[in-house]
């Protein structure tokens, strides 16, 4: 019992020790030469412009949601294809009907978004 769980304890100790160990080692070894350019906020190689607390256009979220339609589609189509790879002909076109129903539901969602004007940038 104890032996089975002891590796969890070892992991815990290592996990707790690792981040401070790295930071302290780096702090001890690194040269300390701060300058205005070194202290500036760094993000993706570009200098930040303006305040971070700005409002985003709500349409970004709608775009993200529509993206999820396609995202889910791919996430499920791949396992579907793999699961039906080695199956016999006895099933006929049943797996195909299954996936057509699934894609049909997603297309209905896309149709709804399209018709409601979510694809037009205002």
């Amino acid at each position: 019992m104890l032996a089975e769980w002891s590796f969890v304890g070892v992991f815990l100790v290592i996990a707790l020790a690792f981040p401070p160990l790295g930071l302290v080692t780096a702090w001890l070894l690194r040269p300390k030469r701060p300058g205005p350019i070194k202290k500036s906020t760094y993000e993706c190689g570009l200098e930040t412009v303006g305040d971070t607390w700005v409002q985003f256009k709500v349409q970004y979220y709608i775009y993200a949601l529509i993206f999820v339609i396609f995202d889910i589609e791919i996430a499920f189509l791949l396992p579907w294809a793999v699961a039906h790879m080695g199956l016999s002909a006895a099933q006929g076109i049943l797996p195909l009907i299954e996936v057509v129903i699934f894609v049909g539901i997603l297309v209905a969602g896309l149709m709804y978004a399209w018709r409601k004007g979510a694809l037009e940038w205002i």
Binding site: M111, Y112, R115
Partner: protein
Amino acid sequence: MVSGLDFQLFLPETILLVGGIAVLIADLFLRERADRETNLAWVSLAILVAALVASAAQYGVSESLFRSSADPVAPGAFVVDGFTTFFRIIAILTTIIVFLASVEYVRGRTAFRGEFFALMIFSTLAMTLMAGSTDLVMVIISLEFLSITSYILTGYLRGNVKSNEGAVKYFLYGSITTAITFYGASLLFGVAGSTNLYDIAARFADPTAIIGTPLMSLVLPAIIFLLAGFGFKIALVPFHQWSPDAYEGAPTPVTAFLSVGPKAAGFAMLLRVFAVALPEFTHEWAALMIGVAMVTMTLGNIVALSQTNVKRLLAYSSIAQAGYMLIGVAGVSVANIAGIAPGEGGAGLAIDGTAGVLLYILAYLFTNLGLFIGVIAVDYLAGSDTLPGYAGLLRRAPFLTVAMTIFFLSLVGIPPTAGFIGKFWVFGAAIQNQLFALAAVGAINGVISVVYYFRILKQMWYEAPADPTPLRLPGTMNAALWICLSLTLLIGLFPAPFIEFANQSIHMLGVFVRS
């Protein structure tokens, strides 16, 4: 692998899914027609009635669907049995009644009426899926499905701050409980090595598999975490904080829907998961229910005493009502669910806790929805949902007042109403299981509830109305009121067929009990 029988027995869900999508798409293309909404409402109602007929036609069927192609003998992810049929009927009936009461209400309050009808149908689909799921993955997906539609319906009045507040609180609370439920399900999966409820039960029943190993200590946390998810839908006390705000802010027909539909579906899921997957742990979860039932009833009733908004008051009242239903769950006999009659091995009991829960839910469906039709009518016609808004309702709408009085009596549990039969059965089950303290707490709570129900009754019967103009209910609302009133009295006066229906509906397919 899906067979032809699967499609046949999955017909109610298929009707709801195809119907819901059809309503959504039809709404997009019928935009310009003036009579679009009325037509859509009738089409939606026809879809629900078709699903109801398809469900009722499967009375007596006991079959597991969507079996794995690798092992066609093993049960699949969904089951159609007496229990599923019962909750399918409950879910669809709830939506039909709410639908009738809301057709007039939603007109003019929101620009998204077609979506409202479609969302109601999708919620019904989610509830029917919840009733029959026999795989942890299906259980959680259908739970989430119902949650998401409920969030949208709660925040349906887009310009209304309270509606938005309720929806956001509901959403935040729901997301966290979903995470906890997922954790519980993953613990159970980790212990038993399967997501299929029957496989989980078989692993626990096998004396050489898990019994006695350190893994057993994870079962109780798993039960508690799963209960968080089910309790959230039912609004049991540690998980109830969202409900007063969501009930107050939601459009009143949605409040009516939330107070019955998701609650019933939550009970269906709770009973199914615990009875099918964890019959070996009946003592543990039944004991947990005793504590939760006591706290739920007491807190719901005591906080309801000080409410002045009728929707909030009924929110706390419905929390308390869920507590009474939970008395039945504490008195569950898994032997009865497995279909072992009393006397055969002495396992079953004459008054069964599960049948009590089902009867209570049936009675509560008509009683609470009937009451909410009154609230919808006052909100719709007089624009008020506070206690003084009900002053002198007797002179403004005499029939409505008499009907609401009967519903209040039914909620308290006074014969000859449906509520009496439900209460009799759950309390009977508790007493048969020697849970005297639980029954006593329930009885005391029944007395407390009289106080706040009669505060509304006093306003309706004795106070003078601020505006004496009579209220005329729209035809559809009246029809819904009549359905609720006649069934509340029918169940109270002639309970025998309903008791038989409940007794037949407790049988779940493939519940294993060690004799």
